[in-house]
Every structure is written in C-alpha cells, then in structure tokens.
Amino acid sequence: MTVLVDRETRVVVQGITGHQGTVHARQMLQFGTTVVAGVTPGKAGGEVEGVPVFDAVRDAVERTRANASCIFVPAPYAKDALIEAVDAGIRLCVIVTEHIPFHDMLVMYHYARAKGTRIIGPNCPGIASPGNAKVGIIPNVVFRPGRVGVISRSGTLTYEIVNGIKEVGLGQSTCIGLGGDPVVGTSFVDALPLFERDADTDALVMVGEIGGTAEEDGAEFIRHHFTKPVVAYIAGRSAPPGKRMGHAGAIITRGKGTAETKVAALEAAGARVARFPYEIPVLVAEAARSARR
C-alpha cells in the first residue's frame, strides 16, 4: 500500500520537449518511474529520453495506458493542459508550473474534482515514493526508502528536510510537496488521511509556512483523526509583518495565519514542533523509535 503513486503509476509528461520537461523526464526515469509518454502539441512522432511524444494526452493514454500526468506547460496554457488531462481520464495530475493565476486554478480545481481527478500543486515539487515512483522534480539524491512520510508546502525546504531525514539514517515512505500557492489541489487536510491509511508510514513530517490557515486546518485533522506521531516545522517565524492582503483577507483569517497560531495549533494537536530545520531529523528519529515500540 502506498500514497497516490506506486509501481503501477504510468506517467505522461505534458510539456516534455521544453527544457524543464526534458530534464525532469530523465530524472524521473533515473528514479525508477515508469514514464510512458510525453505530450507537446505538434511534436507527435518524436522521442525524448526514449519516451514517445504525442500531440494530445488522449493519444498518449490510448497508446501507452498513462494514468498520471506531470505538467510543465507554461502558466498561460496550464489551465488547458490540465483540462485536457482530466478529459483524457488521467486521475492524478502533478502541476509543477509556477505563476498560474488563481482564477484559473479555481476553475482547474473544481473541474478536476467534479471529474474525480486529484491535483497536486501548482507551483510544487510533486510526489515521490522511493522504490515506487516519482511524479515531479524533487532531486533523486535526497531519497532513501523508509517509513517516514513528508507533506510540505515548500519546495527547496522540502529537499533540505527530506535530505536531513536520510542523513540520520532514516528513509521516506512518500513525500508530497503541496505547493505554496493560494489555491492548491491538495492541502494538508487532503493529504493527511492518505498517510493515516498508509501501512508503509510510521511517522509524519509536516512542513508549513506562514500565511493562510492550511496548517491550522491540518492541526485540527491531526487532533481528531491522525494516530501516528507528527513532527512539524513552520518557516517564517522571523518574517517581517508582510504586505497585507487587504482588509477582507484579514477578516477571513481572523486570529490565524501567523507562525505563533500555527505552532500553537499543532502543539495542541499533539505534534512535536521543531523550531529550526536542523531539529527535525532529531525529532523524527525519536518519533520513529516510539512508533516502532
């Protein structure tokens, strides 16, 4: 049992002929992922890293039985790319593309949800399960198969932390980078139940950031429904009071959204909260030991 990706995951890379698409298709293959197809309109018949390229996602699905998509398509075209994948029957879409307008993402999220497709991202590093598959761009070098799950709103900070887990001799079951945009396809609350059910995960690391209330909502879920040990970290404790989102923003988040409220909510839910990234591996090692007992 795994979280969202496994050995049956067959990836189509949308935007495979672009620089990032090509680089990361290669790295996904090196990770051991079954990358079966690429899509770039007008480039059908070509190959990238030995992977056949198609004009449309539907062609790729018919010919290669692709069942997950990794989207590198530039922001102005990302909405169309996602809808195309959903319409072709893809049920897991990782959107790496950054700077997608949230009005587009609102449409993408609700369309995908109505059709039963899960989105991870946008502006995210994706998902990886060592020994199974990677859909996204997290560097391969940070992974080692193991039993610690990771959910994070950050990109590079996730790499730092996943790497730290490896350096203390532990490994990861599945790592999901949710992305830090205002509208994300999968939030902490959506991802937590997957790790609760996952028999390969003993303990969970949750990496949050200031802004929004996703961490508080996640803490609420942990308090009532999550039984495994959780180690959390919130980046941005020292950040200067940012440019405010306007008055209406302030009344939605009323009394939430700061580092203090997030840390307090997580601690109240029973999570161990690290104050700095380098404390996480130590706390995880402790949590993993207690979970095995």
């Binding site: 949230f102 790499y159 020292s238 008055h247």
Partner: protein, 377 residues
Amino acid sequence: MVKLAEWQGKSVFRKYGVPLPRGEVARSPEEAESLVRGGKVPLPCVVKAQVLAGGRGKGGAVRFADSPEEVRAASAAILGSEFKGEKVRELLLEEKLSIGRELYVSLTLDRTQRLPLLIASARGGVEIESVADSEIDRQTIDPFPGLTSYEKRRAAKVLGLSGTLARSLDRLLDSLWQVFQREDAELVEVNPLAIVGDGLVALDAKVIIEDDAAFRHPEYAEVRDDRTELEEIAREKEIAFVQLDGNIGVIANGAGLTMATLDVLKELGGAPGVFLDLGGTDDPKKVTEAFLLMARAKPASVFLNIFGGVTRCDTVAKGLVEAMGQVPATERFPLIARIRGNNETEGIEILRSAGVTSVSDLRESAQAAVDAARGRR
C-alpha cells in the same frame, strides 16, 4: 500584487458600470482649482489623498471644500504631505453627495474552500476588521455558475435593501463580480457603499490585481507601488529581492528555504538585511546579476544557502565566482556558502578554487555569517 489607488480602482469600476460620484484626478493645487472652476467637479466637493493606507478620513487626508479657494487650500495642504509613510502625489476630487446609510461589500478568495467569497455587512464606513463577526455575512460563490440571483438576494437582505435599492444592488454585484473575474482581482472592496436617494454609489474602491495574471493585463504594468530602487531593478530581472533593516545579505532559493534561513540567522543573533530568492533558475548569468545586486545593497556579510533541485549547485557556483570577480576589492564582503543538492560536488569544487569554502551544516554556516557581520559592524 498590484494595489490600485482609489482613482485607478474607480476607473476600472466605471468600465463595468459601477455607479460612482463624479470626480477627477488632480496633481497640483492649481489643477484642482481649475477643475472646480471649469465645472468638471461640482461644488461642494471632497478632496481625497490617493494613498493605499486606510483611515484617511480620520487622518486628515480627506477634506471637504465649498469654494474654489477652499479646494486649492485643501489640495495644497494634502499634496506632498506624508500619510502613514506614503507621499501624497495625487488627489481625487469628487462631488459631495448627500448620503444615507453606509454599507460594505467585497469579493475575495477563500483559500481554504478554494472559492470566491462575497462578504457583505450593513456596517460600512468603518474598518471591516472592527466589525463583529455576527454582523458580517460571508457567501462562497462557485465560479462555474458564477454569482447567482439567490446569492444576491441574500446580500440584499443582509444589507437591509429592498425594492429599487435591492435591484440597484443586484446590478452592482454583477459588475463587481465581472471586475473580480475579468480583471484577475484578488480583492474588490467597496467601503463605503452608500445609499444615495433611491440608488447605491461606490464612495471608495479598493482593487488588488494578482501578479500572476500580469500576462493577461499589460495595462497594470505601470501602476506605481512601494518598491525600493533595488527592488525595482530586481523585479525587472525577475529576481525576488526584499530589503529589510539588518546587515546580513541572504541568497537562497525558494520561499520556504529563504524564510527558514532568516529564522536561523535571527535566532543566532544576526539581523538579515536583504534577502534574495533565486527561485528555480538554471542560468549562471542570473546568479551573477543577483549577486551584483546584493553587492549594491552593501551587506556586512552574505550567507548563500542553496539546495539545488531545478537550480544546480555548479550553476550557482559558476555565477557566483563570475560576480565576485566583478565586485571591486574595496566593496568586498565576507561570503559564507552552503550549497547542497544536485551537482553538489562540482559546485563545491568551483567555489573552493575561488577561495570560498562551503560548510554543509546549516547552523554552523549561519553562525559564521552572523559572526562575520558582527566583526564589520
């Protein structure tokens, strides 16, 4: 985000048919006076400072005038003054209306529910943060059907409007919804929305346009904002660059890692001064430009903390070494590097050959940056 000044927000509103007071923008007392004398703005009128901060009425940044002389005097008093740290460069002159009740409506994003949110309150004309939750109505709006009649009827009820006024609200909300969607706004706020006779008028306009939608809206590229000169140069080069008060420069990649780096420096007694987020660049030239920009901010020390994913460590190292060669000897500063991730070994070797040691421990390297800055204070 692009925050529009009131007059800019109102010119957007006008395009979508939101009822507004008659008004004109002035940039000098003479211009203000002549607008009134020429009949472009009827008397009595309101002279409003065009600043982004709230609380203008209480702060003396909104004044009333009954004659051209008073308009000129009020304009002279407000123009060039500072309001909550913002210099007043523009005024909006508007006819003074005889108003009834003041209401509040806004459209924004509810991140948790991933839906647009329509907020309405009968308690307008005051800062909405000070209004009790029980007096604020929130409705999420599904983008697929869009704003529907039943949602507008509920807003009318909350605002205590019926008959002609309810119909006026119906049209106004349709217009605001169009502004929100078509202009890619993250906030559309009308406070106060005033009852004037048997209609509604938007007395103020707060509109924030989302940056990520800039490719659809070249018209907002010129809107002024509160960036410093270096921040502006950084923006043109697509480097995230923020100036704070401290003296340690931070170069990192990714928002989360940048924030975590600032947290650690602060905990160790340092004061981060400038931070620069390289993002996911794969281009040594961009790293060089970023580093030179950092040099212009004259930091006491610089802490480079990179975890290479999309960005490769050797790319960063190459760009860095190139930039160091371009900084004059007198303007050099201690550089503490920590580079990890893709092509880490190559990157560390390039730095070593240029005389820079990369320390792999976060705490240790951050401490070195703090100590180096302290030595030069």
